[in-house]
Symmetry: C2
Subunit: 206 residues, 2 copies
């Protein structure tokens, strides 16, 4: 039965999990993820195969544990925060997403068939962004009825989509060049709190 990762005291557990994660990292430098079996991982880690299942339900769970906190950690390292007044903090978030996504699987040929962990990265990024935005928006008071959750979610997915589009461009520009572009597209969502300007074209279903 997989045990929660938060605050594991027993050094045996941490040792084993570290070995498994390290093994997967090593193997992924050579092989594609879905060419790697649990056997391969446990052999590389010098851990019994059955032991693997004491910690993770399958190799996807292992990958999730490895990659899940990655983006969140990057944000923490850069001390990225969002104060709800939408300044350059949003830029920092977008830039972090660019850096993370491009490093994680924008590299080169190794992005052949990442179908396995693209959803994981996606979930990690959108969730992390959403958390930050929600935290920031709690401070600044909303001026419309749109819920902060809706705004934060919409913005986080918009950012992810934009960054992904950028990563997949061939001959893509530098991250620093694309960040302002994305920012311009996304800012209005965050300002979604702002009342609609009169004269704005808002089509509504009759």
């Amino acid at each position: 039965m997989p045990i929660s990762d938060c605050e594991v005291r027993d050094p045996r557990i941490r040792r084993t999990r570290q070995l498994l994660q390290c093994a997967l990292r090593t193997l992924m430098e050579k092989k594609n993820f879905d060419e790697i079996s649990v056997q391969d991982i446990t052999e590389q880690a010098t851990v019994n195969r059955a032991t693997f299942y004491d910690h993770y339900t399958d190799k996807f769970a292992l990958l999730d544990a490895m990659v899940g906190g990655g983006f969140h950690k990057l944000l923490a390292e850069r001390q990225v925060a969002y104060d709800g007044t939408c300044p350059s903090a949003a830029s920092a978030i977008i830039l972090a997403a660019c850096d993370y996504l491009s490093e994680e699987f924008g590299g080169k040929a190794e992005c052949k068939r990442q179908s396995a962990f693209e959803p994981l990265i996606e979930a990690a990024i959108t969730a992390a962004i959403r958390r930050i935005l929600i935290g920031g928006m709690a401070k600044a008071e909303s001026t419309t009825g749109v819920s902060p959750g809706m705004i934060a979610t919409t913005a986080s997915w918009a950012i992810y989509g934009a960054v992904k589009e950028w990563v997949q461009m061939e001959n893509r520009p530098e991250a620093e060049e694309i960040v302002p572009v994305i920012l311009r597209l996304v800012m209005p969502i965050l300002a979604g709190a702002r009342p609609v300007e009169s004269g704005e074209l808002l089509a509504v279903r009759d």
Copy 2:
């Protein structure tokens, strides 16, 4: 070797694929997708297991074939189009996404662990929306340097994220109520072509 699905003449092939898809649909009404094995599918379909692999690489490919065009088809049925001037057409897209997503796996307890095909639905929806938006934007001329691809992608992901947020709400309002809210958040992206208003707060990395 999986053969393309487009224009299959041989009735034997169509028969088998129809049986497999029908079988999967039937099984998914009772079981979770990742509790269903290829064996289960072929037994339910009264098709030999080896034959399955003549048509699909794995069960994900089968699901993909089933669900892939679903949203696109829905849009076609409703004759949804986007003319680039962002009127109520955008509402129709969002509403379609709401209806599709809520029906597909917003149902009830059956959304336990849809981890398997959520990425598929996601890809199908964002791709379909992106296509429509790009088509519409080709007509209306852009007034900024932001590429139509970037705008369309960002908007499509924003819409998907917003709709997903809505689907996951407990006691969620009617789709008709949420569409204008989402529309308000998303419209500025589509109008991303529009030059920035002076006085607009745009934070840029120094």
